[in-house]
């Protein structure tokens, strides 16, 4: 089992920064998700753990052992790739067996390992097929089997589900989490999909421009965002971020008025409130706007209001309906309001 420490990791290609400064302590058996938009450095960070990239600065330590100069094949990590990366000339059986062969597992034991791994991902019936004859979901499961077959110290998964359709993705998500719990292997998982991050992770690391924005459990990330980037990145639809001013304990912006601000806060402030913490009401009004759009989805109706130039997302009751252009009033849950510095975007606490 493995504990991974990333100490002051930087990655630079000439003038181009991939990762600026990453410090993460990954616990044994933890499921850690690196989350961020494309180009944020999450995949580069993972590739450095795998040994496929060398850090420009910093240390990668596994179980107390310095890993920087160790070859990928001598690190006990297995990786699942976004494009599956199955060997096209080999059958699924040979694909899954490949890491065993490379690592000198005795021939007599190989078959049992392959069949067990294939069984875990329900691929036993497809062992004699070539990757080209399989669907996307089956290929992904085969790639997963190849990663788990030798029960490595660490799993690395680079957006493994992004090429699958929504329904399959949900099923595979559950399967990945189940397998990780069963094998109890430290896992680092890269994604730009916040739902995957929220559902899979023990802890989420949110990255942007090569820097960590916040590390925390899904609950902490969702309910206690460190800055506007995290607040906006997590949640669907995203948090409403309203730029305005606080004077005399009252926050004002076009169409918005929120009293009861902390005494210490004044000047330019960004106020954040999640769509589900906004309620259509006639009392304690915080926001007044025109109905810009109404989107019923069945279990909930998304209401978009326009006030001034800005659009606000509100999660309304599933029976909610209103004509476009109508005036609507909204109340914010007072204890679910976040304040961020108007300049830096950092949370004001």
């Amino acid at each position: 089992m493995a504990r991974i420490e990333l100490n002051g990791i930087q990655k630079r290609w000439g003038e181009v920064w991939g990762v600026r400064d990453v410090n993460i302590d990954i616990a044994d058996e933890e499921f850690l998700v690196l989350l961020g938009p494309s180009g944020c450095g999450k995949t580069t960070t993972m590739r450095m753990i795998a040994g496929l990239e060398e850090p420009t600065e910093g240390e990668i330590v596994m179980d107390g052992e310095m890993m920087n100069d160790i070859d990928p094949r001598d690190r006990d990590v297995a990786m699942v790739f976004q494009g599956y990366a199955l060997y096209p000339n080999m059958t699924i059986y040979e694909n899954i067996r490949f890491p065993l062969r490379m690592r000198g597992v005795p021939r007599a034991q190989q078959d049992a390992h392959v069949r067990r791994a294939a069984g875990l991902v329900e691929m036993t019936d497809y062992l004699d097929r070539k990757p080209g004859a399989l669907s996307g979901g089956q290929r992904q499961r085969a790639a997963l089997a190849r990663a788990i077959v030798r029960e490595p110290q660490v799993f690395l998964m680079d957006e493994p589900l992004s090429n699958l359709d929504a329904k399959l993705r949900q099923a595979m998500r559950v399967q990945i989490k189940h397998i990780q719990r069963e094998l109890r292997i430290t896992t680092v998982y890269v994604t730009h999909d916040q739902i995957e991050a929220m559902t899979l992770a023990d802890r989420i690391v949110i990255m942007q421009s090569g820097l960590i924005q916040q590390i925390g459990t899904p609950d902490e990330i969702y309910n206690d965002p460190a800055n506007t980037f995290v607040a906006n990145f997590i949640g669907s639809p995203p948090m409403n971020l309203i730029e305005g001013e606080v004077a005399g304990g009252v926050f004002t912006a076009p169409g918005v008025k929120v009293p009861g601000m902390p005494a210490a806060v004044s000047g330019k402030v960004t106020l954040g409130v999640r769509p589900e913490d906004c309620h259509v009401t006639e009392n304690d009004i915080n926001l007044t706007g025109e109905v810009y759009g109404v989107e019923p989805t069945g279990d909930v109706t998304y209401l978009t209001l326009q006030a001034g130039e800005k659009l606000f997302e509100i999660k309304a009751d599933r029976t909610y309906r209103a004509p476009l252009g109508a005036t609507e009033n909204v109340r914010f849950d007072a204890d679910r309001i976040y304040l961020f510095d108007g300049e830096t975007g950092e949370r004001l606490r």
């Binding site: 040994g51 496929l52 990928p72 094949r73 990786m79 060997y87 096209p88 000339n89 190849r146 690395l156």
Partner: protein, 281 residues
Amino acid sequence: MASQRRKRGENLVIRYLILGAWALFCLMPVLWFLSIGLRPRVEIITPQPIYWPTFSLDAWHMIWEDWPMAKYLRNSILAIFGSVLIDLVLGIPAAYSLARYQYRGRDDIAFYILSTRMMAPAIVAIPIFFLFRNAGLLDTIWALMLIYAAINLSFVTWIIRSYMLDIPKELEDAARTDGASDLRILWEIIIPAILPGIITASVIAMIFAINEFLFTLLIASTPNAYTMSVALANFTGGSDGVIYNAIALVAFLAFVPVFLVVVAIQKHLSRGLTMGAVKGG
């Protein structure tokens, strides 16, 4: 319905007619060779057109009985296969290095390799003659193998490299984390994946080699190392004059093995020629 079906039938006939005419056009020189090669010598050099040619195996008997044609054929085959083997043994690792490793001057080196194709071969003919003479390799098949390999190595490397560039990098990353060494990756992952490219490059190298004349003539001074292409020249000089039917027949014999190889691997070849160019093709 009926008229539609008839129309489709007519289309098909027209299509076959056009393709058949094109095939005939392409095969014309070959058929012409065959027709010359299988006629008596007198009939070929007569100025009057002949509508009912006489069939004759004179040339056939002549090339096998009066000349060591079997030996020439053997020389050709050995020199060609040997040279392709050398090209692959050297070209595949070179291509892999040029396609995958980062080092200073890599693209320049790739260009230098290709630039060996850019000069007229005659320029280096004399130096190469002395080089081989000093090495004691004149008049041997080994010399032919080396010279054919040298001529073809550059583009064999380039063709194979272009195929390697099309292989997703992820595949190698996966093999590396699975525990494979660089040589293992090359042998077990890369080479099987670019087999069509290797076959394409080999066939083109074979065709160049079988047609090579200048260096073969230079290096082979006795029938010891004569190949088919040089043997052809034997029929043009000497006291017998130009023996057209023998030339035609030998040319046909030189054509047949290449033709058969290309037919046999046609599927790989056409896939190979397009796959190198079109990503994911």
